[in-house]
Amino acid sequence: MTWEIVIGIETHAQLSTASKIFSGASTAFGAAPNTQASAVDIALPGVLPVLNRGAVERAIRFGLAVGGSINRRSVFARKNYFYPDLPKGYQISQYETPVVKGGTITIDAGNGARVVRLTRAHLEEDAGKSLHEGLPDTMGDVSGIDLNRAGTPLLEIVSEPDMRSAAEAVAYARTLHALVAWIGICDGNMQEGSFRCDANVSVRRAGEPLGTRCEIKNLNSFRFLAQAIAFEVRRQIEVLEDGGTVIQETRLYDPARDETRSMRSKEDAQDYRYFPDPDLPPLVIDDAWVQRVRNELPELPDAMRARLVAEHGVTDYDAQQLTASRALADYYEAACAALPAADAAAHKLVANWVLGEFAAALNRSDIAVAEASVPPARLVALLRRVADGTLSGKMAKEVFDELWSTPQATVDAIVDRRGLRQISDTGALEKLVDEAMAANPAVVAEFRSGKEKAFNSLVGQVMKASKGKANPAQVSAILKRKL
């Protein structure tokens, strides 16, 4: 019996505004508890919300980036429930009319491109945090409330149940994560909770209607998303194969035990008593606003990928890697712009270096592109010395390492100081080859008797004698001629 897995994902992306969605308090992460909670965030009596237009603008940007429609009139509602970290006793969220309707995300989980439809994206405020541990003993047996996060702007992005495997779910989450960072509406920091996913998972036998779903809440890493779905799918199939029924419920994933656990069933579900918030007039977005945001929208990753393949001649795979983040893509574009001659070979060289040495160095140093000590102009200065034959690939890597660790050094100064200039002078190279052949008559004889490997050994001798500075291509050519 084969089971089909059906997954839909709700994502809470924290919008990158400096202040909160309904108050002027800062949204910066990591401040001391309750130091970034204004009278509005604490919900003192008499305070009122004022909508942050920056949050709306980011929602519009998202809607346009996914090809959704921007509702010209949307409504903020109150979602009523009691919890200590919800100061007003209600969350302000868009309910019946969200700011964005529809749209799509194209994913590739290794089985070709697939389109995931979006249902909607709506604006809402985050709640505060309850702290049950880490409080001073002197406070006794109490829970703490930190309202710094209360009122942080969120865009809740809801997909249709279009994914059919954990791998697709992860591909969707990764693509969405890259997109929101790309268009600058979310910093994407998952450790800090800026991008959190809830997965709705159900299974069914092929051809049957949708099964009962369970929602797994607050998955804040791609790995947890994959593991939680894998566990949940196994659990549901087991239940069904044992003749049981899946109960619609909300579950939590426990990474320590790699399992999901029931949090509350549908029967316990609260009645949120949604109604339009009378403190906020309907959000009206005019065509001019949408047009302005559209004009300011950067080239999107899909479009850029296609352009790099078509115009730069890079491979599809490399184009995908280069557009994995806006910062890396911008770096690549800036490097290409600094090239003296922008032909396919030059683009290919830049792509190789950006995805190779540069990306590796970023990883090793665990820093962001913007913090790298080798900006595009320095990299291009290095690549020019590769292109003109001054440096071999191996030498260039040594120079790159020194550029990385010595921000003020220039490429030519390093080359000269370390004597790394490649020997490309034919006369000098012929001398080196002659010496190598004279010193290794046995190897020469081996090659002449048909042992191809002996050739490489001779090249190696020449390189060794030149301390790696001989141009290997030229050495090979000379050797071939002489043998």
Partner: protein, 489 residues
């Protein structure tokens, strides 16, 4: 001296200082407290300090029209450094770190805040009997209510303790107590005065406004209170208007010539006390003498006002009052087993019966499965009521009628019958549902000596017109100048 104008004159001519006015007001407040209980909090020190500052401003001769005038705020407006209780145990010791916008504007105008006035708990009521701090008593008859919910402010002005006070009007909470206390009360257009710092009861209906002895006093208060506030998203950005303009000019022979006064049949039917009906009829005759003509109009949907109001207002209240949960401020139960127990005990102890009743009604009408039948239907009916008024204002300029069906009723008479209590607002709630301005001005007395109010309603932003009509009426009558015997208060 009972009106702001008289006090302004005395201050301008240095016949009296603001400190002396404040001392007088504080003394009267103290004397009246046992009899009428108009105040919850009085702050002598801050009042005298404000009066000194006002005297300094008056000496510099750059003072505003209200500089040095003693006033009181309904205890629903946040005041920095003076507690704001909302008449509730829940907030009995709550001190806000900020001023409500209306409070801040009146402070900047150098008014002298004497204290905070008593009210129905969380502004829910029409008699000011539900306060945690005891009932307000009517200065005209201490056995009767002063009206509500802004009963303390109305009683304070009626008893001559202060010449003006703020109030809020959600379903009639300024106009009804003004009528029952024999003074002038104005509910402006929704959005004209900021709600920032006003403890929300029903956000789409709550309207800050003012009490004064006369229309001119209300106009001066409105001048100071009105204005756009970016912290209130429902606050309107409008060009400034001088609402007192022309009110002190000389009077032409027929000052209301050309004015069309609409008389809705719905406001003159059964259920209106005969003395009230007679006083209103007499007032209309006076208005005709001043040149106005009256036209019969119909407001067929207005009969749904009370049921619509008692769906929408509790719905919003049930959500607005959720923040009083004992977690961050306000009352918290002393002992509780767990979180839910803490919520339940805190709210059971902190709220009075009427507040609980409305939270329950509101929770019910918003519940899954009932929302469409109640809340949504009420919102549709609200639209129909508004359409009635929009049609009516094509036929007339203002609408007149009684403010309340009866004069002040005895304390306790309706305390156990919420529906009878709610019917007190039958003529006033429509203006809240439409957001249009309305006011009450004194127009007579019952044979028992209880004041009667005439309600004047107008289209959005017609405050200046309403104040003008009331002012012209007050120029030819003296109901607004009658005062209860001092011995009563």
């Amino acid at each position: 001296m009972r009106t702001i104008a008289e006090m302004r004159h005395a201050l301008a001519t240095r016949a009296i200082s603001s400190v002396e006015l404040a001392e007088q007001a504080l003394t009267r407040v103290t004397q009246s407290q046992p009899a009428i209980n108009a105040f919850i909090t009085v702050d002598r020190d801050s009042a005298i300090a404000a009066a000194r500052a006002a005297d300094a401003a008056l000496a510099r001769e750059d003072a505003s029209a209200l500089a040095g005038i003693p006033i009181a705020h309904k205890d629903v407006f946040m005041t920095a450094a003076m507690r704001t209780t909302c008449g509730s145990r829940m907030l009995a010791n709550f001190v806000a770190p900020y001023d409500a916008q209306v409070v801040a504007r009146l402070r900047e105008a150098h008014t002298v805040l004497v204290g905070k006035t008593n009210m129905d708990e969380f502004a829910m009521g029409s008699s000011s009997e539900t306060s945690h701090f005891g009932a307000v008593r009517n200065p005209w008859d201490a056995g009767r209510v002063a009206g509500g919910s802004s009963g303390g402010s109305a009683a304070a002005v009626a008893a001559g303790l202060v010449p003006a006070a703020t109030g809020t009007d959600t379903g009639g909470s300024i106009r009804q107590p003004a009528a029952l206390s024999g003074i002038c009360g104005l509910k402006p257009t929704y959005g004209l005065c900021s709600r920032y710092g006003l403890v929300a009861f029903a956000s789409s209906l709550d309207t800050p406004g003012a009490f004064a002895r006369d229309a001119h006093g209300c106009a001066l208060m409105l001048n100071a209170m009105a204005g756009h506030d970016p912290r209130d998203s429902t606050s309107l950005a409008r060009p400034a208007v001088d609402y007192a303009h022309g009110l002190d000019a000389s009077t032409p022979a027929r000052p209301l010539a050309g004015l069309r006064i609409g008389l809705p049949g719905e406001y003159f039917g059964d259920g209106v006390d005969t003395h009230v009906a007679q006083a209103v009829t007499d007032a209309l005759a006076e208005l005709r003498k001043l040149g106005a003509e009256t036209v019969d109009i119909a407001l067929p949907a207005v009969r749904y006002s009370i049921p619509v109001y008692y769906v929408i207002a509790p719905a919003e209240a049930s959500s607005n009052l959720a923040r009083f949960d004992g977690v961050r401020y306000g009352h918290r139960a002393e002992r509780y087993a767990d979180l839910v127990d803490m919520y339940e005990k805190t709210r059971a102890e902190g709220f009075g019966a009427e507040v609980k009743r409305r939270i329950l009604i509101g929770t019910y009408v918003l519940s899954h499965g009932y929302y469409d039948a109640y809340y949504l239907k009420a919102q549709r009916a609200r639209r129909l009521i508004a359409n009635d008024f929009i049609r009516a204002y094509a036929q007339c300029d203002v609408i007149a009628g009684p403010t309340t069906p009866t004069a002040a009723f005895p304390i306790g008479a309706k305390a156990d019958d919420p529906v009878q209590m709610y019917l007190n607002d039958i003529f006033t709630v429509a203006a809240n549902l439409t957001g249009m301005p309305a006011m009450s001005t004194p127009c007579g007395f019952t044979p028992d000596g209880l004041p009667i109010g005439l309600q004047l309603q107008g289209n959005h932003f017609a405050e200046a017109q309403l104040l003008n009509v009331a002012h012209r009426y007050q120029q030819v009558t003296d109901w607004h100048l009658r005062a209860p015997p001092r011995s009563n208060a």
